[in-house]
């Protein structure tokens, strides 16, 4: 009872704080994109190569690109209130529909990457902390620093060389085997096979971050009085670590996991390019190159939304893990 009320209060606080942030993001992104030289009409005209001044003006009028800036902004906000992200002139469909098609693949990819990063990172960090100063720790520390220094797109390409080109174990790109007509479990396995390499490429950097962070946090917690209390009870070292150290050490780690969620989303842009993954990152990149700013605004807004949702979940997780957190 009390527990749920506490979590609800944390939730409410987070949501209230998020509203002005979201509004700021919309306005800032909107102004930024409108300040940019060139618009969708320019690019379309450039591509067709035959556009006259009249057709350009017509295109602009059609998409509302000829209106004063403030009016465009208000129109956009008005649309948002009705949960509409506008229309994409290039793809010829509503932005929300377009994003809806791409979002699930990106979320799956990110989810798997995040899971790998958190699980492997925490295991790595705990191992390093438990062997602190010994050779296991030294070797793993160098490995994690290496992971931290490798560009995700490059490791992605190298994984393709090794696992697709040389060994032929895993597909080098795409989301599923096209035209294979797989169903049921086979289809799931096929999907997973396609996800392993991109998710790993995306995860490595964060494995390193969580590993290093967990190591520091575990070492910090291990020197606390209550850990000595646990040892004085006669608990085995592994039990002490898992039950008493890790749960406290995870508090700072979860906080940072929220901060890095946006980073993973950004990393998806590059990794989706490497693996021709039909996700949000590709969509963002394509729409930048085509000056399709309605789509881009939608993607940016949705990304910020995802980050905020992730942060909210992290806040709740944090509050659940740490009973001392009350509404501040």
């Amino acid at each position: 009872m009390f527990e749920n009320r506490r979590l609800l209060r944390v939730l409410r606080r987070t949501v209230v704080q998020a509203v002005p942030t979201v509004l700021g993001i919309v306005v800032l992104n909107f102004l930024l994109l409108k300040l940019a030289p060139g618009d969708a009409a320019d690019v379309m005209a450039g591509e067709f190569g035959t556009a006259t001044e009249e057709t350009m003006a017509m295109l602009r009028r059609q998409f509302g690109l000829d209106l004063p800036l403030l009016q465009q902004l208000l129109a956009y906000l008005g649309n948002l209130v009705q949960f509409s992200l506008g229309f994409s002139p290039r793809y010829g469909m509503p932005v929300s529909e377009l994003i809806g098609q791409r979002l699930p693949s990106t979320l799956m990819l990110m989810g798997l990457a995040l899971a790998i990063a958190v699980v492997v990172g925490i295991a790595l960090g705990t191992t390093m902390a438990m062997t602190a100063g010994r050779w296991t720790d030294r070797v793993l520390s160098v490995v994690s620093l290496l992971f931290y220094s490798v560009p995700g797109f490059w490791i992605g390409l190298m994984l393709i060389v090794l696992f697709s080109v040389k060994l032929g174990w895993l597909p080098s790109g795409g989301q599923e085997t096209i035209g294979a007509g797989l169903t049921g479990l086979d289809a799931v396995a096929d999907r997973l096979k396609h996800m392993i390499l991109p998710a790993t490429s995306l995860a490595l950097f964060y494995v390193a971050i969580y590993g290093r962070l967990t190591r520091a946090a575990v070492l910090e917690v291990a020197s606390q009085d209550y850990v000595r209390t646990a040892a004085a009870k006669g608990l085995a070292p592994l039990t002490v670590t898992l039950r008493h150290v890790l749960r406290n050490a995870l508090l700072p780690v979860t906080t940072l996991a929220g901060i890095h969620f946006g980073g993973i989303l950004g990393g998806a842009v590059v990794v989706e390019t490497v693996y021709s993954w039909p996700g949000l990152g590709r969509l963002a990149f394509e729409s930048v190159m085509r000056r399709d700013f309605n789509v881009l605004l939608g993607v940016l807004l949705l990304s910020s939304f995802l980050v905020i949702i992730a942060n909210t979940l992290i806040d709740l997780l944090h509050a659940w893990l740490d009973p001392r957190i009350e509404v501040r």
Binding site: P37, V150, I160, E220, G263, F285
Partner: protein, 298 residues
């Protein structure tokens, strides 16, 4: 969100010895990995500066038979790409871009971050609230996505890439500086400076900032590393300066030949990894040297 996240840069702490302390320098020099990393970076920097002397030819010009593998021809030790460009020359010239953008973007980002963070942390109140909100807006947008948008709409050139990277990295420094200033502004020496009637600018830059520098320096080396990574990712995606060769653009070009000539992707990637690794090793060593509290000895 703010309260929970602001204090969490656990690998960087307050209360460090003054910068001039020889103890910190010696601690740094006692770390063999850091010394090795420093030597490597000096080597890269010298190569980058001397690139016009080592390879006077434009690295984008055709000089050899295409697809020479490394070691096939001693004149081109690292081989040649699909257009017969010398990979070794590309590496040397690419180092210029990587280091230039990495350092310039860091300098700009750190400057913005210090100004914003110091203002927010020192003055507090509504100024702090507003600036924290601004930082939050930047940190809520995925930074690489933001970077792609900024560079794409502003024409990819060295200058615009540098500014764009600085624009997505300053919030990290700003948050760090803000936290430092919030704790330092309550200290006695600051109160004393106020009592002496010093102006805000003097207190911020002469009294507080030097004491906040150690964590800023540590983070700066890591920011150079991440700026290099960002630049390479941009170039890889075709958003680099088209007139300059860079490690990322070499990888992007090599990608097309991944199945047949993977060395074209491999070699510039190794250059990035080693450079970034060196910077991160230096960051770690600086952290240990400037934050004795966290080193292994009690």
């Amino acid at each position: 969100m703010t309260a929970a996240t602001s204090g969490h840069t656990p690998d960087i702490a307050v209360a460090a010895p003054p910068l001039g302390s020889w103890r910190a320098v010696r601690a740094f020099l006692r770390n063999p990995a850091a010394v090795l990393a420093t030597l490597f970076l000096i080597m890269v920097a010298v190569t980058a500066v001397a690139a016009p002397l080592i390879y006077p030819e434009d690295p984008l010009s055709m000089v050899a038979r295409p697809f020479l593998w490394p070691g096939q021809n001693p004149t081109f030790p690292l081989g040649s790409d699909s257009l017969g460009r010398d990979v070794a020359a590309g590496l040397v010239w690419g180092a210029r871009i990587s280091l230039l953008i990495g350092i310039a973007a860091m300098a700009l980002g750190v400057t913005i971050g210090i100004v914003v963070g110091a203002t927010a942390g020192y003055f507090g109140g509504w100024i702090d609230d507003a600036l924290v909100r601004l930082i939050e807006i930047f940190q809520t947008t995925p930074s690489f996505l933001m970077l792609v948008v900024l560079v794409a709409i502003a024409e990819p050139r060295v200058e615009s890439i540098t500014v764009a990277i600085a624009l997505v990295t300053w919030p990290t420094i700003a948050r760090l500086v803000r936290a430092e200033f919030r704790s330092l502004r309550e200290k006695d020496f600051v109160t004393a400076a106020r009592g002496l009637g010093y102006g805000h600018a003097r207190i911020i830059f002469i009294e507080i900032l030097p004491n906040a520098l150690p964590p800023i320096i540590v983070t700066s080396s890591v920011i150079v590393a991440s700026a290099i990574l960002m630049e390479s990712a941009l170039s890889f995606m075709g958003l680099g300066d088209p007139n300059r060769i860079s490690w990322g653009s070499m990888i992007g070009a090599g990608r097309e030949m991944l199945r047949t000539a993977w060395y074209l992707t491999f070699i510039p990637g190794i250059a990035i990894v080693l450079t970034v690794l060196a910077l991160n090793l230096i960051g770690d060593a600086l952290n240990d040297a400037l934050n004795p509290r966290l080193s292994s000895e009690p």
